[in-house]
């Protein structure tokens, strides 16, 4: 015996939207079918039957309107067995109270992981501290700290490492890939207004105060106020004017000619 579409849907306790979603049909079409405004098209019948888990023959092609329902019913009430008086049973109340979900208490943090302890030792080594001093500050062995406590401690120590690490110290580990030492030397010489004495590959020398420098060249102001840019590739070595006096003393092992 075929039944109305809305009756079948209510038996299955699904909403119009859910049925439309399952059947892949617009909600408006479902509402029109349920209100009896139009009969179910044959191409939609199979979809609706599969969505409702019923046989096609169980669905009435032309539904009879639900008694007391408006011509076009909208969203059904979730609790269809208790229709709201004066309103459509399919209009869901907005302030529907849901049953409180039981929530269990969060599990206590587990013991510290070995990797956390290894990270702790690594950080302490970088801070040049020992585990003993840390434990005396904490008042208990670090092995008694749980996972969360140790994670918080690691974050704190990591911040200390970050704040204590100066850029120079950090970069000095790879002096082969930076040029900051020569840059610092030239900067200091420039700020001091020192005269530098340069020895070039072709045997010539040059001297002057640094005007500017870059990765590949050094520009100096010579005694006659003219500027000279020296390509570093053309340089063998250089030293400051104050040191040039010492160079003139023919330091052992340094056989270069004293600068002018």
């Amino acid at each position: 015996m075929p039944e109305n579409l809305w009756a079948l849907r209510e038996q299955k306790r699904i909403s119009v939207a859910a049925l439309a979603n399952r059947a892949g049909l617009p909600i408006g079409v479902i509402l029109e079918y349920e209100s009896g405004q139009r009969s179910i098209e044959p191409r939609h019948l199979n979809r609706l039957a599969r969505a409702l888990y019923v046989e096609e023959a169980q669905i009435r092609l032309q539904s009879e309107p639900r008694p007391g329902a408006s011509p076009l019913e909208r969203q059904p009430a979730r609790n269809a067995s208790q229709p709201t008086a004066g309103r459509s049973a399919f209009i869901a109340p907005k302030t529907k109270e849901r049953p409180l979900r039981f929530r269990s208490e969060p599990l206590p943090p587990g013991p510290a992981r070995p990797s956390q302890l290894a990270a702790l030792d690594n950080l302490l080594q970088r801070l040049e501290r020992s585990r003993t001093t840390l434990e005396s500050e904490l008042g208990r062995p670090v092995t008694e700290l749980n996972r969360a406590e140790l994670a918080q401690l690691l974050r704190k120590l990591q911040a200390q490492v970050q704040s204590s690490r100066s850029p120079a110290r950090h970069r000095a580990y790879l002096p082969e890939s930076v040029d900051e030492f020569e840059t610092c030397y030239l900067t200091a010489a420039q700020e001091a207004g020192a005269t530098l004495y340069f020895t070039l590959f072709d045997g010539s020398t040059a001297e002057g105060q640094i005007v500017g420098f870059g990765p590949f060249s050094i520009t100096v102001r010579q005694a006659d106020s003219s500027e000279l840019t020296l390509n570093k590739l053309a340089l063998v070595s250089y030293r400051t004017a104050a040191q040039s006096a010492g160079q003139a003393r023919q330091t052992p092992g340094h056989e270069s000619e004293p600068p002018r």
Partner: protein
């Protein structure tokens, strides 16, 4: 001057011919020349050195010995001298020999404190050989 720096200098003297053109002209396999020129560690073998010596028309020995004195070897010697607080002697490309304690070193230069505690800044590309050599 390391083999890479020497090759770069020779290439500049040739008017800046590209590594790709050199590889094509010498028959070296792809990227070998660029590795020999750009890598800090020794790259290339004796055959590659011989081919390049012929290409640049320089004695093979002039390039060959530099395989044993790579830029990485100099870094190792500088690090060892710094750690051991021992003086380092540098033989420079222009025939000079300088000695002193390594105060600092970086990508392009070496700060060498000579015997009278004066700082001499030596360009790395000017260094040919050094003593003592550090073991790998």
């Amino acid at each position: 001057m390391s083999l890479g720096d020497t090759l770069r200098l020779l290439r500049a003297k040739r008017g800046g011919v590209t590594p790709l053109a050199i590889e094509a002209a010498t028959g070296l396999s792809a990227r070998v020349y660029r590795q020999m020129e750009q890598r800090y560690r020794p790259a290339g073998d004796e055959d590659a050195v011989r081919v390049l010596a012929e290409y640049y028309d320089v004695p093979v020995a002039e390039l060959h010995w530099r395989l044993e004195w790579s830029r990485k070897d100099l870094s190792r010697a500088l690090a060892r001298a710094t750690a051991d607080a021992r003086p380092l002697t540098l033989e420079l490309w222009n025939g000079q020999t300088v000695a002193g304690m390594v105060r600092w070193w970086d990508l392009g230069a070496i700060g060498l404190a000579t015997a009278d505690e004066e700082l001499l800044v030596v360009q790395r590309h000017a260094v040919q050989r050094w003593q003592p050599r550090a073991e790998e």
